[in-house]
Structures are given as structure tokens and as C-alpha cells.
Symmetry: C2
Subunit: 510 residues, 2 copies
């Protein structure tokens, strides 16, 4: 399994090199974590330079001319081996080799000056965005965004050529191999048909009962409860941490998973749900196979699959009645106070599944979230294809938002300036959120089918049956298969909207 054992072979030499790349990625990821959680403001300039240097070294190490030769050789060895009895690469090694080729192809597709120009334009645009968003100043944003968009189009075209995809598909595939427009379009079309009417029925049903008021609690008490819940879910604090950052995320590196959240003293449930969401990501990372820790095949299969693991924990398992029966006494015990005492399991559940169309994606509920994603998917696809000009974004955004959710943003801050993604040149990522939600529903249903005690265990706060199923059917497989293939293998059914829709029906209307 290790490069040194086989280091006479081209494949062994590649494993050794990718181990070095994996270690450098882990180092960079830790420095990102520190940036978001610990770093004093004056450290930003040096940190940005350190991270850029680490990225440059990884790029040099990956695009070094020897890597192309080694890949050719290793692929030839693997073909020759396949005929022989002994010495053949096993399935994992073959999958690893394919992933290495893929990484190399993506890295070599982009000329170094384009990479540098993109990085610079993205840093600049993000800085402009940070000021333009609160000011709702689209004109200022567009001045920095237009040149970045031009570079993104160049990148997409170059990637597309290297991977044999259309430009936008190439961006999507770089986030989740196997997930391009051909897969996503029919899914999103189906949701676009289903959701508006469904939303109307949910709103009608919920109109009768206002959600209970939020539970207020001091940050220290919320944090203690969050740690308790993380432990119940299977998070190992010997191999990870929980901290605070402005935007919650899951980071860190192998054997040391760092998640963050933010607390709102006026509303404990929001912070807790954020912790549960990030814990889902963390459990996936912690469950990746140790033997393949630093190899491409040992990493997460893709961003949609990653999102499926957080949504499975937060949306499928925890925004449920059984979980709220487990949570209610803990909430009372840890948070105390009147608000907590008043919140029984039923009230908590009603609060957790309250549906209300709004402007802001990150605040959206499970039912309206896909609309926010479909909007962005349509627009970014048109932007990359050069079918939409930069200055047409606000109008197109408002029109689609209104058509999907019945609301028209009153300013750019609650419209097209709300997300960071485009301002840093991130295109093709948005679909992952909703594909992840579909996958989460399918995984959870399959786990519940295979583990009949699943819901009773969750109600007892026992997540071992769920985690055990995920370990075997998802986590341990890492990138052995791509996301959609892994889903089908684990659940017996291909990626579709059916299970997600059935879940919504059951949770919101039955």
C-alpha cells in the first residue's frame, strides 16, 4: 500500500509523490483553520503569502514533467499486470491511479500565468465583495467581478478541453466527478416542477401554528451541549476540535478534524444545528480509510457526497421528532432558563421544520433551499457560457427568485451579492448542495431499511447503528467510486429525486 514498498515501480513512485502532496494539503488546511479561528487580524498578509507558497509548491510538484511520464508508465504496467496472475495493481490501486491521472490532467490543463491571474483577481474581487455586500453596491462589485469572470471562462474552457467536457460541465466535474449537467438537469427540472406546489401546501398546513419562540442561552452552555451532542454522534475529541468562526466549516487534516460554528445567545437551536451539520462532514472525514490517508483515492469522493453527509446528519437524522425527543431533556439540563423549559420535543420539532420563503440561502429551510440553488445554477451556467453579461445578473436574479419563491429582492445584499462563491471565482459548486440533499435522503432511507432499529436508537441518542452503516457503505469507500456510483452501490438505486420528495412529503405533510 505504501510507496516505499513498491518504490521500484512507477506506481510506487507516484504514491510517494502524492503522499507528499497530501501532507502539504493537510498543512495548508490547518493554516486555513488557524486563519478563520485563531489568527489576529495583523497576521493575514503573511498567512496569505504562506498559503500561496504552499499552493505553488503543490502545483509545481504535481505538474513536474516526471509525473506525466510516471503516469504513462504506471498505466502501462497496470495494463500489462492485468493479464498476469501476480503483481497486478489491486482495485484500490487502479482507482488511485485513475484519480492521480485526473488530478494531473486538471493541474496541467491550466497555464501557470492563468492560475496566477485567477488567484490575484479572486483575492481582489473577494476584498471588493466584502465591502460591496453590506453597501449593496453592485456597480463596485461588477468592476472587480467582470475581469474575474473572463478568467473563469478561460479556465473552464481549458479544463473542458483537457477533460472532454463543456466548460461549465468541466467546472462541475472538478467538484464531483460524475456530476455534470446531463445528470443534474433532469433532477432539477423535476424539483422545479414539484416544489412550488408542495411549498404552497406546506405553508398552508403550517399557517395554523406559529413556531415557538427561540431558546435563548449563554454561549458557554450552548457549547457544552454542542460537545455533548458531538460525542453522542461519534465525534472523537482526541482527533478533533470544536471552535468558533464567522462562517462555520469543517477543516483540519487526517486524524485531526476541526469544525467550527457560531453561537447566537438569542437562539440556541441555530448554533446547535450548525454544529450537527459540520459534525456530519467531520464524521465522513474521520471515517475515510486510514491506509489511503494521503492518496487521491482516500479523499472524499466529491463535494456533493460531502454535503450529503452533513445533510444526512442535520436534515435527515436531527431535524426529526425522534432526535428532538432525545434533545429536549438535554436542552433543559444544559441550557436551563424559561425558554428551554418551555421547549418540549414537539415544539422543538416544529421550530426545526418551520418553512418560510426568504432571500438568504444560508438561512433557508429544507423545502425552499433547492430554489436558491436552482437560481444560482441557471445563472452561473449562463455566465460561464457567456450567455449572460455581468450587468444582467441583478435583473435575472430578481426575476428567477420571484418566479421560484414569490419574492423579489429589495436590494443586492439580499440578492446577487449575498454569497462569497462567485467573488472568489468558485463556479460549479452550487449544485452540490441540492444534489447532496437528494443523496442524503437516499442514504438515510437505505440505512433505515438495513438497520430497522435506526430511529429508536436515534431517539435514545445512540447513533452507532447509523454511523456503522455510513462507515461501511460510504466513508470507508472514499473515492474508490465516484459519488453517483457509490450512492447506487450503497442504496441499490440511482441518484433521483424520488426519495427526497417522499421524505419531504412525510416530514411536512403527513
Amino acid at each position: 500500500m505504501s510507496g516505499t514498498e513498491r518504490d521500484a515501480s512507477a506506481y510506487g513512485a507516484l504514491e510517494a509523490r502524492f503522499r507528499r502532496l497530501g501532507l502539504l494539503s493537510g498543512a495548508a488546511s490547518m493554516l486555513h483553520w488557524d486563519w478563520a479561528t485563531m489568527m489576529p487580524p495583523g497576521g493575514a498578509e503573511a498567512r496569505a503569502a504562506q498559503l500561496a507558497e504552499l499552493a505553488l509548491i503543490r502545483h509545481e510538484m504535481l505538474t513536474d514533467s516526471r509525473v506525466g511520464d510516471l503516469l504513462d508508465e504506471a498505466e502501462a504496467e497496470a495494463e500489462a499486470d492485468a493479464a498476469a496472475e501476480d503483481g497486478a495493481l489491486d482495485d484500490w490501486q487502479r482507482a488511485n491511479l485513475a484519480r492521480m491521472r485526473r488530478r494531473w490532467r486538471e493541474a496541467t490543463a491550466l497555464p501557470a500565468d492563468l492560475v496566477a491571474a485567477l488567484s490575484e483577481a479572486a483575492s481582489h474581487c473577494e476584498m471588493v465583495w466584502r465591502e460591496a455586500r453590506p453597501a449593496s453596491d453592485f456597480v463596485a462589485f461588477a468592476a472587480a467581478f467582470a475581469p474575474l469572470l473572463g478568467l473563469v471562462r478561460e479556465k473552464a474552457a481549458a479544463l473542458g478541453e483537457a477533460l472532454g467536457h463543456t466548460p461549465y460541465d468541466a467546472l462541475m466535474e472538478s467538484h464531483e466527478p460524475g456530476l455534470g449537467t446531463a445528470v443534474v438537469d433532469p433532477l432539477f427540472d423535476d424539483l422545479a416542477d414539484f416544489l412550488p406546489e408542495f411549498l404552497g401546501r406546506v405553508r398552508e398546513k403550517q399557517a395554523g401554528s406559529a413556531p415557538p419562540p427561540p431558546v435563548a442561552a449563554p454561549v458557554a452552555a450552548q457549547e457544552a451541549l454542542a460537545r455533548h451532542l458531538m460525542g453522542a454522534l461519534g465525534f472523537d475529541f482526541d482527533h478533533g476540535r470544536l471552535d468558533v468562526s464567522l462562517h462555520p466549516f469543517c477543516g483540519g487534516s487526517a486524524g485531526d478534524i476541526r469544525i467550527t460554528t457560531r453561537y447566537d445567545e438569542a437562539d440556541a437551536l441555530t448554533g446547535l444545528m450548525g454544529v450537527l451539520h459540520e459534525t456530519g462532514h467531520a464524521l465522513y472525514e474521520a471515517g475515510l480509510p486510514e491506509d489511503w490517508r494521503y492518496q487521491p483515492v482516500g479523499r472524499a469522493a466529491g463535494m456533493a457526497l460531502h454535503e450529503s453527509q452533513s445533510l444526512l446528519i442535520e436534515m435527515q437524522a436531527c431535524r426529526s421528532r425522534p432526535f428532538m425527543r432525545f434533545l429536549a431533556p438535554l436542552l433543559h439540563e444544559h441550557l436551563g432558563g424559561e425558554g428551554a423549559a418551555a421547549c418540549d420535543a414537539d415544539a422543538l420539532h416544529r421550530r426545526a421544520i418551520h418553512v418560510e420563503p426568504g432571500y438568504i440561502r444560508v438561512d433557508a429551510d429544507e423545502v425552499t433551499y433547492p430554489a436558491h440553488i436552482m437560481l444560482r445554477y441557471r445563472l452561473e451556467r449562463a455566465l460561464v457560457a457567456d450567455d449572460l453579461a455581468c450587468d444582467e445578473i441583478p435583473g435575472a436574479w430578481a426575476d428567477i427568485h420571484e418566479s421560484l419563491l414569490g419574492l423579489r429582492p429589495r436590494c443586492h445584499a439580499e440578492g446577487c451579492l449575498q454569497d462569497i462563491h462567485w467573488s472568489v471565482g468558485e463556479f460549479g459548486y452550487f449544485p452540490s448542495y441540492t444534489v447532496g440533499a437528494l443523496m442524503a435522503a437516499q442514504f438515510f432511507a437505505a440505512a433505515a431499511r438495513d438497520e430497522p432499529d435506526l430511529w429508536q436508537a436515534i431517539e435514545r441518542g445512540d447513533f452507532r447503528p447509523l454511523l456503522g452503516w455510513l462507515r461501511v457503505n460510504v466513508h470507508r469507500l472514499a473515492s474508490r467510486h465516484n459519488g453517483p456510483a457509490l450512492l447506487e452501490r450503497a442504496t441499490g438505486t440511482p441518484l433521483s429525486t424520488a426519495v427526497f420528495k417522499a421524505h419531504l412529503q412525510r416530514r411536512y405533510l403527513d
Copy 2:
């Protein structure tokens, strides 16, 4: 000043490469900080691998064959330039080039397999030491230490050949250029003559009055006071942090200095003095010239000079009567309680300068500390020269300790197993502590001569005169000169024991 401005020249290309090395050092330093302060125990294995990879990349980048060629070219350019009017490298650039050559010489002196073997043997020996120390088990330690010592001797011989020094001198010079045995021997001989009799007189004088009991206080209150004092000293929390670790240190990277301490609820003064000590290190790092941030000439001049900056703050400025007059009301305000109330400035001062021979170096007072260092200096010098065998260490240690301090260690834990240095292959560092103490006395005396208001300002909690003097005469000069040369330039006198002895006389006997 920057590599890009001159990147047609060999010197410019070197600056660009050393900038990359500097960024990678900063990244590694941050990951070390995280290891000591934040990392969960399960992260150690991955972190060790990340740090080893970063060290390997730096070594590859520095020993790359092009670097030798560039150094040759740049030195030739500099010589040619020196004759011309225009285009000559300025003094800083020349000093930088000399430092680059020095770094390259040290890095290329050691064959890669020796570096790897040393790193492995040191990791192993440190692990063994961590268990052998509490068990006082010298036999177990020696089994891991003997092979490491063999490798250290090889390293010292190779470095000595490359730098034109004896093996042990080469190790000393790699910690502080300009400080070898020829400089240190007469200083230490003089201290060995002076200190025993002086110690007797101090003990006699202090025998009459027992030091007041320690000040107990909760950790949170100690930390708040520590931050207040750091602020008064000039530490900028926008560019640094204070945290907790088992062994206090100053780390971080340019623009983001991270210091640590440990608190003892039963004795607030110990933790505070530790913070003041590390703040001295931090002020030096923060005061290094920004224009030379990532270049060898912009780094600290050496480890003795670094130690002089921490001892100047802790020993010279803060274990003084004027500082204790500033501290006493703050202690009362922050820590409250009976102990604090009872501690007036005079009692605090008596506690801060209480002298008592002991076994443990890190607990030693200012008067007995040099004995601990001289002991280690004699032994490690004999070990590197192969004049002392591994199994002779405990006996030699006990004999010298007894001769210098009148005490014979009762076990190896309070004898030769107490320090981590040798167990990680660190030889030639110990003299820095006492040379730093001599330098600190000289710097402080010069500052007091140049800033007549210095003591009155300290008594008011105003450290600006002191910091201002250090900025101009020490910090801003970085490695423009080596430590002893910088000291002479700043104070007007060469490195000697005279000022240190006068300081001891004044503080402990007058």
C-alpha cells in the same frame, strides 16, 4: 529590496528563493505552535509527517544545485559592483548574501541520509526520554541516546569541516554566528571564579528574611493581568496572541507572534514572569525590519541575542524594585484576595530575587542559573569531542553539580535527564542562555545610560523609552551584524562579564 525588482540578477533570484524559504519556515512555525497549544493528541502523527515534509522541501529548495551557482554569480557581481558607482549591492544586501551563503554551507554540509537518520534518531530518543525522565531511568535513555550521540558527532564533524571550525564550535556557531568556545571560555571561567563566593554572600544576606509566601489567584485573573502587562510592554495583540502550553515559548511568524505560558493557581508570580520573559522574545521578533521580513539578514541574529532580549525584559527590567512598584497595585486590582493584598512592592521584589541553589535549571534564579549552564557546556563539549562516554554522564553530572552548587542530585530526573535538549540532538545551544544574560545586562545598562528617565518610566509602567532604544539599537538591525558585533556597536563595549557582575552586585548585595 524585493527579488522581483532585480530578478534579472543572481542576487535577485536568490532573494526570491529565500523569500519562499522564509514563507515555508513561517508555515512550519505556525504548525509547531498549533501542536503545542491546540492540537488534540490524535493529531500528532499526521502533524509530525507534515512538519517533516516541510523540512524536506526547505532542504531540497536550499541545497538545489542552482543555489550554489547563483551564490557564486551573486558574489562575483557584488565584487564587480563594489568598484562601480551604480548598481552595487548595498550593505544590507551584502550582509544578506553572506547569510545566504552561510545557510547554504550549513545545509549542504550534511548528507541527506545523515539528516534523515538524525531526525529519526532524535524523534525516537525524545519519545524514550519522555518516559525515562519521570522514571529516572538512565539505562533506558542511554540505549536511545548513544546512537543519536554518534550521529550528532558525525553532524558536528561535517559542519566543522564546512565552516572551518572544530566540531563543537561548529554547533555553537550554527546557533549564534560569532560565538564559539574561544569567546565563551574566558567568560565562563570568569563567572566560575566569581559566582561561588558571590552566591555565598547573597545567601548570607538573604538568610535573615524568608521570602514572602506566593500569591495565589485564579487562572483567568492571572491571564487578564498578563495581557495587561504585555500591552504595557508594547506587545500588539493585532499581531500576536497569548496562549497556554506545557513549556512556554515564543513562536508564530512574521506579523503574527504567538507566545505561551503556563499558570500556577498557587503562585501567580511564576506565570507572570514567564509571560514577561516570552514578551521580551516577542518584542524582538516584532521589531525585526519589515523590509527584510523573509530574508536571512532580516531574522534574529542568533539564539544568545534572542535570549538577551527576553532576559533583558524579565531579569533586568521586571525583577526590579521600580517594576514591582508598578506591579503591586495592578496585582491587587486584578488578583484580589488576601495573598495579593499582603504583597507590597517590597515583598514582591524580595520574592522575585530570592536566591536558592537547586537541581532544576528552569526553576533556577538569576545567580545560580549560570552554574547549570556551565555544567552542561562542559559535558556536551566533552560528549561531542568523544572525551566522555554516554554512560559516564550521570557521574560527571553529579560531580560538577556538587562542585558548582554544593548539591548532589538524588536521582537522574533531577540530574542529567531533566532537559529535553540532548534527547532531540540539540547540542551547542546551552551556552546561549548565559551569554544572553551577559548581553542583557550590557544592553540594559547602555539603554539606561542613553535614556536617563528609563527607571522612572518603568516605575510608571511606561516601557516606551526602553523599547524605543531596543528598536533602534537591536531589533531593527536583525542579522545585519552578528550578535557580539551588534552588542559592541549598541553598547560601546565588547561582550564581557563586567556589567553582569556589577548588576548582580547592585541587585543582591547593595
